[in-house]
Amino acid sequence: MEKLILRRVDRNYEEMVLNFGPQHPSTHGVINFIVETDGEVMKRAIPDVGYLHRSIEKIGEATGYPGFMPFTDRIDYVAAMFANEGYAIAVEKLLKVEVPPRAQWLRAISCELVRIASHLIAVGTMTMDIGAFTPMVHGLREREEINDFIEALCGARLTYNYHRIGGVAFDLPEGWRDKVLAFLDRFDKFLPEFDRLITFNEIYKKRLAKVAVVSREQAISYGLVGPNLRGSGVDWDLRRDMPYGAYPNFEFEVPVGKGWAGAVGDCFDRYYVRCLEMKESSRIVRQALETIGQTPEEIMAKVPRNVKPDAGEVLSRVESARGEMAYYVVSDGTNKAYRVRARTGSFTAMSIIEDISGGLMVADLVALISSLDVVAPEIDR
């Protein structure tokens, strides 16, 4: 035994290849990283995607157009509403259907509520990965209320299946509007409390400052989207720059990383952009609820039960909680899609890890993954 240890020392191990994950609590699902380390410093971390592949895109070719909607929930189960919306918009474009205005407002309300819920998970799990447990519980407490609202709206807490091709499934329930407005009042007070609890904590800030800096050029060339892109200082948001649905009606700001803790594009910027986005989403929901009509109106366009679009191809883009989500749907004129392709933000976020991780500490890999807010099922689909 002693000999063995001596021999290992003699051989002068400088590099060690480690498997980080798939079953690791801070990889946010089952993702595998192959980490080449030299002591505590990584040479690089190679993400090995595909562990959670469920061939959802292939299923889209087997089920009919409406039948694929529940499967889109499973693409990104933390923010399933956006996957619903993107797919619905794509098929509506194929069918050339106009969505009723009230349905578009309901889509915006539901999506922005889910964005808040998703960002609460993102910032909560990030603080937990760094080592602070309490803020995550605070985040989950608020998310629980949003889940209750969404449950009252569409009947499910996670796999919503709320949007339909041509509209939404349900109108607002009785008394829902006032309850959500009351929640938003509380939530607007919660955000500063959360900031005092952890965001402006000096230890937390110093821990994330100048860690895993993604420059503006890198972010664009790797195709980062959403809060990760804006964290690197790129001012781009589909809701404002290529508005879809009801978004032209709302007033909101797009937070962009400014190097609050040190450098533009570090982990803290990506984290804090999400905190600020929650505030803007709360503003959008408030505006939408205050202006939406109280009387029920048409929420579904006329869509045949057997959806059979003309041959053609479309691309739809929505701003998901994890960034731009695109659906590419090809129809060959039958009632089943010829090809359904989903482009997700987490996949491109994974691609940048190999480039950024060189020279980082192993402990910083955890901060990098959680600041990119990758969700495992969205990477592999």
Partner: protein, 257 residues
Amino acid sequence: MAQSVSEYTGAIKDTVKSFWHGMSITLSHLLRRPITVQYPDRTPMPVRDMLPPRYRGFLEVDTAICTGCQACERACPINCIQITLEKDPANPKQRVVTQFDIDEAKCMFCGLCVEPCPTGSIQHTREFEGSQRNIRNLTFRWSDALSPFPVYKVDKNAEYYPRAPLGSLLRAKLEAHPWNEAGPVFLPPEAPGAAKPVAQPKAAAAAGAAGAAAPAPRAAPAPKAVPTNGVPAPAAAAAADPVPAAEKPVTPNPETK
């Protein structure tokens, strides 16, 4: 990286200050009411009654108003609903539903089957506590061949279809047996190669190929029909495996067409 003394002490001061900011919030929660609920025995009422009415729980079918249109079966993206319609032997004009099975273990509770139902017969209930020892107990049989139900005739002028209270039928089914009851005994699924008529040519081919020393690429599936044909069992098991390629043209697989 030279740090002045004021920077150093300032950082300590900021750390202590922000630490107490956070700690004061944590301490203030000692005085707040907890939001957690002790499930299931400390809730003021059963959890299913606290859920919103749109909750998508187990599916329930009111067979009294089911029209047998099979719209729910077609809408289901994962085919967990199975409906069979037959003519009533006593009254040839009347169609009856002899099978209406919903596999709740497979169901993903998307709600797509509820929407096309013309009478609201199939509905999601607020039931969700359905753990069973045997997964087959989660296949709810709303009709069976021994007691089929006649299809409901839709009255065009009716504004309202009389439906049993939502959840009552499902609860009756759930409470009919304990959770740890053994599952219903179905016939084992028949493999296409193991069916009776297939056995004869296969056995003949197996006997013919028994001399050929073909190495078995993988473990033999051991079809049940082989020992019944009088062929010595070990020889048949060894020879049966390379044979399927030869028997294919004799019995085309019904699933491939």
